[in-house]
Amino acid sequence: MKIVAGVIVALLAVAHVGAASSVAVGIEEFKFTPPVLAVPVGTTVTWINHDEEPHTITSANGAFGSTGLSHEDTFAQAFIRPGRYEYFCALHPHMKAIVIVK
């Protein structure tokens, strides 16, 4: 499973993540980093807001969503099904990113 996931991620040429069960996405200067994150099924993604401005993690299709995250607040979401999960910040909708679950 680990090897398969690694191959897929390498082919996609996006943020490289192994089969770790937990992955972090940073929010800084009004940007999600990495903006494209590929993870294997079963991964929990944790966002942390380093800005003093609040941000949200809001799924484009309503699949998941946080409330406003204050400075250094975190939000965690487990991804149990494959798919492309686009999300944005409800307070700053130009902040867009995606989690790709394989």
């Binding site: 009004f30 800005d51 003093e52 609040p54 700053h92 909708p93 130009h94």
Partner: protein, 307 residues
């Protein structure tokens, strides 16, 4: 609407926080140092009001560890004005991200303002979590259809409060929406062109810096209805700094926050609270006083900082 050019922008920035009265004669701006309020007090029909903006209660950061204290300072300053302001406009972002209890804190502090009434429009921080449910529950009463926008008359001037944060999608710009623009057209229709009009909303009704969402995408469709008036003043918040622009008969003005400054457009990687020492931030936060003097077309707008 025109984008502000760099030269125009630098001029505007030179005005920030200087505490000057701006007077326009024949479209040319000139300035003078703030005259003692008492000097103009005797003019019949004169009145003043105050704009408070971006109180961001719930914020805690490098530039301000306690925005309740700076808001209280602003209230104390307003209460020292002679004569007292006829009313106060709060141009939104009362809360920092709808932090629990923040609306109550703002209401409690603003209870102490010595004025007849406070009018509100929402900022995106006040409505983004619940689509405006809490805000409209508190401040929707008496507004058009309970949707937050409203107009009123005071001593021959017409005031319009617009909501441009409830359709805050896409690129993160403000928007008014069709219903509100149609209402505005009907609202202004009976007025004579000589009626002074003041429009207030949270997000600027001019393209300050669209890259940061500092504009209202359909503002032009609202402003077209204001063209026939000889004196229009547009008061906005959102960008936490004083910027001013004159376009024909319309004077645009943005207010400082009472909580923290934001960077000048394009001078930082992103908008948001500036990370500077509190003492420096005090020189970039404050309050706006606006005075109407009969016979003088432009309203006098005076910004004063806390530091």
């Amino acid at each position: 609407m025109d984008r502000i050019d760099r030269r125009g922008f630098m001029e505007c920035m030179a005005w920030a926080g200087t505490g000057l009265v701006w007077v326009s004669t024949g479209g040319v701006l000139s300035s003078r140092v703030i005259a003692p309020a008492a000097a103009a007090e005797a003019t019949p029909g004169r009145f003043s009001f105050v704009q408070i903006s971006d109180t961001h209660i719930g914020f805690k950061g490098q530039a301000n560890g306690d925005p309740t204290a700076t808001l209280q300072q602003v209230v104390d300053r307003v209460n020292a004005l002679q004569p007292a302001p006829a009313f106060v406009l709060h141009t939104g972002d009362q809360t920092h991200g709808q932090k629990a209890g923040a609306f109550d804190t703002v209401a409690e502090i603003l209870k102490g303002v010595k004025t007849e009434r406070i009018f509100y429009v929402p900022g995106e921080h006040d409505v983004f979590l619940d689509g405006g449910q809490e805000y409209l529950g508190r401040y929707g009463k008496g507004t058009v259809g309970g949707r937050g926008w409203q107009s009123f008359d005071y001593k021959g001037s017409h005031f319009v409060g617009l909501v441009n944060v409830l359709k805050y999608k896409g690129e993160g710009m403000g928007a008014l929406g069709e219903d509100q623009i149609e209402w505005l057209e009907r609202d202004l229709a009976p007025l004579s062109p000589s009626t002074p009009v003041v429009v207030f909303s949270h997000v600027p009704l001019w393209a300050v810096y669209p890259q940061w969402g500092w504009t209202t995408e359909d503002a032009g469709r609202a402003l077209v209805h204001l063209k026939r008036f000889s004196s229009v003043t547009v008061l906005n918040g959102h960008i936490h700094q004083v910027l001013q622009k004159v376009e024909g008969n319309v004077r645009f003005h943005t207010a400082m926050s009472t909580a923290f400054p934001q960077p000048a457009p394009g001078t930082a990687p992103a908008p948001g609270p500036m990370k500077i020492a509190e003492a420096d931030a005090r020189r970039m936060i404050g309050v706006t006083e606006v005075t109407y003097v009969p016979g003088q077309h432009p309203l006098a707008v005076v910004d004063s900082t806390l530091g």
